[in-house]
C-alpha cells in the first residue's frame, strides 16, 4: 500500500533564490489512518512540512503526494489547527465551526439548503469534545482549553481525511493539555483519519502517535523514525510505565544529537 501523505526528497526555501533552506532532502511517508508525530528542535522546518503537505507551499525540488495525487494546489481534504485557536470573535462558536463549510465544496453550494443540518452537525461535534451546549457562546466567553477544542472541531467539521496539527496544545496548562490529548486520541480512533502532529512535547508525541519522526536542525530532514508499539487504546496511565519512559528517553537522545 502506498503512503497517504508522502514527501519525497523535498527541498524548500523561503525568500527567493538566495534564501536559506528550510528543509533539505526531507522524506516522510504517512500511511492512511496513521497517527504520525513530528518532533525536532525549534526552527527545524516543521511548519514548512505542514505547508508543503497541505499545498500552501510547493517544494523547490522533490515531490509531494497526498491521497495518491501530486500536490499542485491547496489539498482541500485537510483540516488544520494551530497553537492559537484563531476563532473569529464576531461569530459564535457554532458559527465558527461552519466557516470551513462556507468555503469548501460541495458544502459551500449547499450552505443555504442544509444550514440547519450543518448546525446540528456542529453541535454534535462540539458535544463530542466536551463542549455540549456551548455553541451559542462567543469564543472569548470560553476558556483557552475550550477555545482550542472548538478550533479542533473547526478543523474536523468538513470531515477531512487528513488532520494537520501544529503544536495545538503548546499554549495550554499541563492538565488541560492531557485532557486534549485524550480528545484527539478518541477523535482519531473514532474517525480513522490520518493525523500529522507537529510538536515539541515528546510525551505528547509518544502518547498519541503510531510513529514518531525526528527532524534535524535547519535545514530540516528526518534523522530518526520510531514506531510506537504501545497497545491501543492508550490510557494516560501509560505515560508512567517504564516502556513509555524509555521511548521518550530514546527520542530525547535523537533530539539532542539533532541540535548539535
Amino acid at each position: 500500500m502506498s503512503a497517504f501523505v508522502a514527501l519525497d526528497n523535498v527541498t524548500h526555501a523561503y525568500g527567493g533564490a538566495g534564501g536559506t533552506l528550510a528543509v533539505d532532502g526531507l522524506s516522510i511517508a504517512v500511511e492512511a489512518g496513521e497517527f504520525a508525530a513530528v518532533v525536532g528542535p525549534s526552527g527545524c522546518g516543521k511548519s514548512t512540512l505542514m505547508k508543503l503537505a497541505t499545498g500552501l507551499q510547493f517544494p523547490r525540488t522533490g515531490a509531494v503526494t497526498v491521497a495518491g495525487a501530486a500536490v499542485n494546489a491547496p489539498v482541500k481534504i485537510a483540516g488544520m489547527a494551530f497553537q492559537a485557536p484563531t476563532l473569529l470573535p464576531w461569530r459564535t462558536t457554532a458559527e465558527n465551526l461552519l466557516l470551513p463549510l462556507e468555503i469548501v465544496q460541495p458544502y459551500r453550494g449547499q450552505m443555504r439548503r442544509r444550514k440547519a443540518e450543518f448546525r446540528e452537525r456542529a453541535e454534535r461535534l462540539l458535544a463530542s469534545v466536551g463542549l455540549a451546549g456551548q455553541g451559542a457562546k462567543f469564543p472569548w466567553e470560553l476558556s483557552g482549553g475550550m477555545q482550542q477544542r472548538a478550533s479542533l472541531c473547526r478543523a474536523l467539521i468538513h470531515e477531512p481525511q487528513l488532520l494537520m496539527l501544529d503544536e495545538p496544545f503548546a499554549a495550554l496548562d499541563a492538565f488541560t493539555r492531557e485532557e486534549l490529548w485524550c480528545v484527539i486520541r478518541d477523535l482519531h480512533a473514532a474517525r480513522k483519519i490520518t493525523v500529522i502532529l507537529v510538536t515539541h512535547d515528546l510525551r505528547e508525541a509518544v502518547f498519541l502517535a503510531d510513529r514518531v519522526f525526528v527532524m534535524s536542525a535547519r535545514p530540516g530532514r528526518v534523522v530518526a523514525e520510531k514506531r510506537i508499539e504501545l497497545p491501543r487504546p492508550r490510557d494516560l496511565e501509560v505515560t508512567f510505565i517504564p516502556q513509555f519512559q524509555d521511548i521518550v528517553h530514546e527520542l530525547r537522545g535523537h533530539i539532542i544529537k539533532a541540535r548539535q
Binding site: 500552501l56 488544520m80 473569529l88
Partner: protein, 257 residues
C-alpha cells in the same frame, strides 16, 4: 447607583459649568474688555440676539460637513480595501497618500475655488479631502493584520482571496473602520469651516469672519460654541454606531476601569 457612580455621571456637566464660572469670574476680576474676551454671559446674549443667522449657518455647516464626510467614508472605505487587497497597490499609493495628507488643506482651497467657484462645493470637497485619510489607513491596517494561521486554514480549503476578504478581512476591519469615523468626522468639521472662512458666503466659518470684521466678538465665540456642540454631537453618533456595529471588539474592561 453609589456616590462615585453619580459623580462620574455628572462630572462632564460639573467640569463644563466650572469652566464657565472660572471664565466669567476671570473676565470680571481682571477687567478684560468684551472685544478681547467676552464673558459667557455676553456669548449667551449673542446667541439670543443672533439666533436666526446662527441657526441658519450652523445648519449649512453641518450639511456641508456631513456630505463631505459621506464622500470620505465611501471613498476611504473603497481605497482602504484596495490598498489592503494588493501589495502592489499599497506600495504604489502609500507614498502618494502620505504626501497628499501632509499638504495643509487650507492651501488646496484656492485651487478648489478656481475650479468650482466660491461657496458650497469647495467646502464639501475640503471636508472630504481632510477626512478620508484616517479611514483609508485604518481599513488597510485591519486587512493587513489578519492572522496568517487563519489565512492558512482557509487557503488549505481552497478559499480564494475574495473569500478570505469576505469572511475574515472585512469583518475584522470593522472596528478599525468605525474607530476611524470618530477621527474623520471631527476633521471634516475642520475642513468645512476652513473653506467657509476662506471662500464662502455661508456657514459658521463665514459668519465668524463677518463678525470679526464688524468687531462682534461675542458672536465669534457663539460661532465657536456652535461648532463645538455640532462636533460633540456627531462624535457621539459615531461612537454609538461603533458600539452597535462592533460590540464584539469592545469586550475589554480596560477602558471602563
Amino acid at each position: 447607583m453609589n456616590r462615585t457612580a453619580i459623580i462620574v455621571r455628572l462630572s462632564p456637566w460639573l467640569f463644563t459649568i466650572g469652566l464657565l464660572i472660572v471664565w466669567e469670574a476671570s473676565v470680571h476680576i481682571f477687567k478684560i474688555p468684551v472685544f478681547f474676551l467676552p464673558p459667557p454671559t455676553a456669548v449667551a446674549q449673542a446667541f439670543v440676539e443672533f439666533a436666526g443667522p446662527l441657526a441658519r449657518n450652523s445648519w449649512i455647516t453641518l450639511e456641508t460637513t456631513l456630505i463631505g464626510f459621506a464622500l470620505a467614508v465611501g471613498f476611504g472605505l473603497l481605497l482602504g480595501l484596495l490598498v489592503g487587497w494588493s501589495r502592489t497597490i499599497y506600495a504604489g499609493l502609500y507614498p502618494l497618500m502620505i504626501g497628499f495628507n501632509a499638504i495643509p488643506k487650507v492651501a488646496v482651497v484656492p485651487i478648489l475655488v478656481l475650479w468650482f467657484g466660491i461657496g458650497f462645493i469647495p467646502a464639501v470637497l475640503t471636508a472630504f479631502l481632510i477626512s478620508f485619510f484616517p479611514i483609508v489607513v485604518n481599513v488597510a491596517t485591519g486587512l493587513a493584520t489578519i492572522e496568517p494561521e487563519l489565512e492558512d486554514v482557509l487557503k488549505a480549503l481552497g478559499a480564494s482571496k475574495l473569500d478570505i476578504m469576505r469572511k475574515v478581512g472585512i469583518p475584522r476591519t470593522l472596528p478599525y473602520f468605525f474607530g476611524s469615523l470618530k477621527v474623520a468626522i471631527t476633521l471634516a468639521f475642520v475642513g468645512s469651516v476652513i473653506s467657509e472662512s476662506v471662500a464662502s458666503n455661508y456657514g459658521i466659518g463665514n459668519l465668524m469672519l463677518q463678525a470679526q470684521a464688524q468687531f462682534q466678538v461675542p458672536l465669534i465665540f457663539a460661532g465657536l460654541v456652535v461648532l463645538a456642540i455640532e462636533g460633540i454631537a456627531m462624535y457621539a453618533v459615531m461612537a454609538i454606531l461603533e458600539r452597535r456595529m462592533t460590540g464584539w471588539a469592545q469586550r475589554s474592561g480596560f477602558a471602563q476601569s
